[in-house]
């Protein structure tokens, strides 16, 4: 059997020799392979692995730079930084999100609402984008988190600086706010600084516009860390370089006063320096508190902002558009004088004006009025009659000359310039011919006319100073004057006389005379119709009431400050807007007196705006708790600020032109009929005694 013979003892012994030799060779081969492999890793790839070991070992932590301050004209901070203990999380590094957030909630005593907001923010964050858990912590809470850090991977407690706005809501719209970088912002600027916990960049307004100036240089700390992130020792440290400050023309105290004086109203106040054009106050209230916005917007806060019919996210000073009403009359008087109308010519006001078969009713039977009287008593008949005579096409250019319908070069602002209508515009916009009644409406600041509070303030400053002032926001950088205004001093004097008498004569604003020794104010009231109504004034729903406007300057003899106040749905100009203007003006000359009065008023309003916001937040939390709907993503919040007019409920009957076209709009807003669709338009209801 050849097969059997193959296996004998001696053959097997030979086979063992051969095979054990083979096994030895294989073992030796693997030994050589290992040696070669090790040589390759340790010699050929040594540099690569040394770098990796080093990047394991050494942790480079960027220290967010302290942000540059934003100062008012006197050097008082409108935005500063305060030292702070804070806790952030990096969602990507969280190992067990639920457990870690629950633990943080325990350690930091977060409320259910705050924990819910934190979950939302983490869900929306992408990758290594840090999410703030809390800032402004006391040392004990901070230390509690620091001690537990090994159990909390992805949680970053640190001390640093956070943005602080001492006057909170008063500067919200003016300065904007800061916040952690969004995914979009990181894509535009992929800098590691944007992913550093605690770093916040400007999200709106001046904070956004001057981001690069305010930012500064981040510091850095190199430290040796273990795999679990515990710092073994610091290796080296580079201090941050604080961002540069920017100084504004704003008077911080005045800004705060105006914001608080607005009280419970929805209003805008703009104050301009008649010497330089510098803006001293640019206020829109109610507002948001940039201090809490910096922490990211929670559900309750978002609901609060959206529920408010006063539209806190709308900067009414720049983006609110209103029919100016009778505040147009001083401008009108200048336009008429340019057309050769003698200021002394009297027009008889029988209580209205007959145009064809329609009768435009004035507020009162004024009898014979001259130009000064037409301003003092706000007589519509005078302007209807005169504009019919000189033609509206000669009035509109003067309105534009004084700044109405114009956009101004102001950093960090988004303005809407409204409408100074003319026949060509109407044809383009509505495909309709201009009518005489359009002229009549426009001549008293109604109908298609819409302007912003800033424009009204610029107009008033130009009338008061006689100079073609251009508004500026940066201190020490006034804008050069525009081309000379084509009015003679005599013509300006007539207009100013009329405005002086409004407050100091027998006019519509005598109730708001300044209670100051030797300083008098000149002004003009305005009451702008929101919608055609059978009943007017203070009756009816808030949304249906007239807007209350007042423009003024002081001292009347040598104008220094010009102001425009618009109170949404504030009824008569003399009732809501003029007293605010009087108190703000008082604050410029006698702050003590003004503040004393304000503090009394605030007692009846439930405290300062910050206090009222806090109380409202508490009430909302109590009512809605964690049931409030989710916050829209960051982008939507920014869009709401940028395009906040869309937040205005689009009631088809609303004549508020804040929802209307921005300049060269090509088609009518859906659902909004042109104002001439319901003629005859009721003229302005008259003066309040």
């Amino acid at each position: 059997m050849p097969l059997r013979q193959k296996f004998t003892s001696s053959l097997l012994a030979q086979s063992f020799d051969r095979r054990s030799f083979a096994v030895g060779a294989i073992q030796g081969g693997i030994g050589l392979l290992l040696a070669a492999r090790m040589g390759y890793i340790a010699v050929a790839e040594n540099e690569k692995y040394e770098t990796e070991a080093e990047s394991n070992r050494v942790n480079l932590v960027l220290i967010p730079p302290r942000r540059g301050w934003i100062l008012d004209r006197k050097g008082i901070p409108l935005a500063s930084n305060r030292a702070d203990f804070r806790v952030d999380v990096i969602p990507e590094r969280l190992v067990d999100r639920e457990r870690e957030i629950a633990m943080l909630g325990d350690l930091l005593k977060l409320s259910p609402v705050e924990i819910q907001d934190l979950h939302d923010k983490i869900a929306n964050a992408s990758g290594f984008q840090p999410v703030q858990v809390a800032e402004g912590l006391d040392y004990d809470a901070f230390a509690a988190v620091t001690v537990r850090q090994p159990e909390l991977p992805g949680v970053v407690p640190q001390r640093g600086f956070s943005r602080y706005y001492p006057t909170g809501p008063a500067v919200g719209h003016l300065i904007g706010y800061v916040g952690a970088a969004s995914r979009e912002e990181y894509e535009v600027e992929p800098s590691p600084l944007l992913l550093t916990p605690g770093y916040k960049l400007g999200k709106d307004g001046l904070e956004k516009q001057f981001e690069q100036v305010l930012r500064g240089e981040p510091g850095a700390r190199r430290s040796e860390v273990t795999a679990s992130g515990r710092v073994v020792r610091d290796l080296s440290m580079r201090e941050d370089v604080q961002g540069k400050p920017i100084k504004l023309t704003i008077d911080g105290q005045l800004q705060d006063f105006a914001a608080r004086r607005i009280g419970l109203e929805s209003a805008a106040v703009v104050v301009i320096d008649c010497h330089t054009g510098g803006i001293l106050a640019l206020v829109s209230m109610p507002s948001f508190d940039p201090n809490t916005f910096a922490n990211g917007i929670g559900r309750v806060e978002w609901k609060m902002l959206n529920d408010d019919d006063h539209i806190p996210l709308l900067n009414k000073a720049l983006r609110g558009l209103y029919p100016p009403g009778s505040t147009m009359k001083p401008m009108g008087s200048l336009a008429l004088q340019r057309q050769g109308i003698s200021p002394d010519e009297k027009i008889n006001c029988p209580g209205g004006y007959q145009l064809g078969n329609r009768f435009f009713r004035c507020d009162a039977v004024h009898g014979p009025v001259d130009m000064r009287g037409s301003i003092e008593h706000s007589c519509n008949t005078y302007y209807w009659s005169m504009s019919h005579r000189v033609g509206y096409q000669n009035i509109a250019p003067v309105a534009k000359l004084l700044g109405l319908g114009k956009e101004f070069e102001l950093p960090g602002t988004r303005q809407r310039y409204g409408t100074i209508p003319d026949p060509e515009w109407k044809m383009r916009r509505y495909k309709q011919a201009w009518t005489d009644s359009d002229s009549l409406n426009a001549s008293i600041g109604q109908g298609y006319v819409s302007v912003s509070p800033l424009q009204l303030a610029v107009m008033t400053a130009r009338i008061a100073s006689g100079k073609n002032l251009r508004p500026s926001l940066l201190f020490g950088q006034p804008k050069p004057l525009g081309p000379d205004l084509p009015f003679t001093p005599e013509q300006l004097a007539v207009t100013r006389d009329g405005m002086f008498n409004v407050v100091n004569g027998h006019g519509t604003g005598v109730g708001s005379k300044l209670q100051l020794e030797g300083i008098q104010m000149a002004g003009k009231t305005g009451t702008a119709q929101v919608r055609r109504m059978t009943s007017r004034g203070a009756v009816g729903a808030w949304k249906d009431r007239d807007h209350s406007l007042f423009v003024c300057y002081a001292p009347a003899a040598a104008p220094r400050y010009a102001m425009a106040v618009v109170v949404e749905h504030g009824t008569f100009g003399a009732r809501a807007a003029a007293p605010i203007a009087r108190d703000v003006m008082t604050c410029l000359f006698d702050p003590e007196k003004a503040w004393a009065g304000l503090l009394e008023m605030e007692k009846t309003w439930g405290g300062t705006p910050s206090e009222r916001l806090a109380a409202k937040y508490a009430a909302y939390t109590a009512t809605f708790g964690t049931t409030a709907p989710k916050v829209a993503p960051d982008a939507a919040v920014e869009a709401a600020l940028a395009e906040s007019t869309t937040a205005e409920p689009a009631a088809p009957t609303s004549g508020v032109t804040t929802g209307a076209e921005r300049g060269e709009a090509t088609s009518p807003m859906p659902g909004e009929a042109p104002p001439s669709a319901f003629p005859p338009l009721e003229p302005e209801f008259g003066p309040a005694p």
Partner: protein, 374 residues
């Protein structure tokens, strides 16, 4: 007279050219463990050295065992270990979880460790008893295959893939050395190539499957399972030629390297001692294994040959798989590096192998002196 020559005689014939490097390697291992413990000798190093001393003494006792007794006890030993393996399985099933050891109160007994040398012993005995004429028939394969497959299956159930593979490797090497037809191994390899993918999908546990996946591409999971391999390579690679110096390894000291004192002790060493240290370790293992194969080749009879060859293969398997793993050439399996890793069971197994090799070596010396088989 006899007593005077006995003691020096025992020591004089010891394989010092192996024991001395091995002792040095263990001391070197103790130094590395000292560093891995952050400069604490008591944590790992002390017990490492004590274990080595105790187990070396045990190996020297083992060396004195006579051949007849060893061959005779092969099947009983195999049977006992197999029963223990089944007991572990039963306890695990009752306790409701996987278990690898039996708690004896004073120590934890891990029967699968004992199975590694025992399978070699049992198969060596089997082939020594098999008439040479039957080597090419199914009677050479089927009983041996059963001897091998049963413990492997039991260990696989624990589940402990690494140990099962170690048992399988030792057994297969004995079968190869026993002279089974080469085509059977070729066929087995081919079958393995077919079965491996099937085993991958149907036998391996998720975590094991994941380890294989990550081995193919460590960067796919740099913070998960691939972390081990990546960090190990960083430790070895950053050591360079001369290393970072004793106690200066950042990878191990800052906890980037997982298991710096057990499975990845070689990486801990290489970071601080560099390529030089690595080659030294390889050299010592080379000396030991080369000596082991030499013992097998010099062995006086078939049983001793197969026994020594299988023991060498078992030791080789530890070293090779561990080093391939830490250098990223094999998936992560929990196999320590003999004489360097901290841990009792692997030290014990390797000492059994070493003791057995010295025993076989003693048999051949005796046979060489007397001219007969002892």
């Amino acid at each position: 007279m006899i007593a005077r020559t006995m003691v020096p005689g025992v020591l004089a014939n010891l394989p010092f050219r192996v024991l001395i490097p091995l002792t040095l390697l263990t001391c070197f291992g103790a130094a590395v463990l000292d560093s891995a413990a952050g400069g604490s000798f008591a944590t790992y190093s002390a017990s490492h050295l004590i274990r080595f001393a105790v187990l070396l003494a045990m190996a020297l006792v083992l060396r004195q065992f006579p051949r007849g007794l060893v061959q005779l006890s092969a099947y009983p030993a195999y049977g006992i270990i197999l029963l223990l393996l089944m007991a572990v399985e039963a306890i695990g099933a009752v306790g409701g979880g996987s278990q690898r050891w039996i708690n004896l109160g004073f120590m934890q007994l891990q029967p699968s460790e004992f199975m590694k040398p025992t399978i070699v012993l049992a198969l060596a005995a089997f082939y020594a008893a098999l008439p040479p004429g039957l080597v090419g028939t199914w009677r050479a394969l089927i009983p041996a295959g059963a001897l091998l497959a049963v413990p492997m299956a039991l260990v696989m159930l624990q589940p402990d893939l690494g140990t099962a593979m170690a048992i399988g490797f030792g057994g297969v090497v004995v079968m190869f050395l026993a002279g089974l037809p080469f085509k059977w191994f070729a066929g087995g390899a081919a079958a393995g190539a077919v079965i491996a993918p099937l085993a991958y999908f149907f036998v391996l546990h998720d975590y094991q499957r994941n380890r294989v996946l990550v081995f193919m591409d460590p960067e796919s999971d740099p913070l998960g399972t691939g972390y081990h391999i990546t960090q190990s390579k960083i430790a070895i690679g950053s050591g360079g030629i001369l290393g970072k110096g004793f106690g200066e390894g950042s990878q191990s000291h800052l906890n980037y390297l997982p298991e710096p004192h057990t499975d990845f002790v070689f990486a801990t060493m290489a970071e601080e001692w560099g390529l030089i240290g690595g080659l030294m370790v390889l050299l010592v293992f080379g000396i030991v294994l080369r000596w082991g194969l030499g013992v097998a080749r010099r062995a006086p009879d078939r049983f001793s040959q197969l026994l020594a060859g299988g023991m060498t293969a078992t030791m080789f398997f530890y070293v090779a798989i561990n080093l391939l793993m830490v250098m990223g050439l094999a998936p992560v399996v929990g196999i320590p590096l003999p004489f360097m890793s901290h841990g009792g069971s692997s030290m014990m197994t390797n000492m059994i192998c070493l003791g057995t090799l010295m025993m076989v070596d003693r048999w051949s010396q005796k046979a060489g002196r007397t001219g007969t088989l002892g």
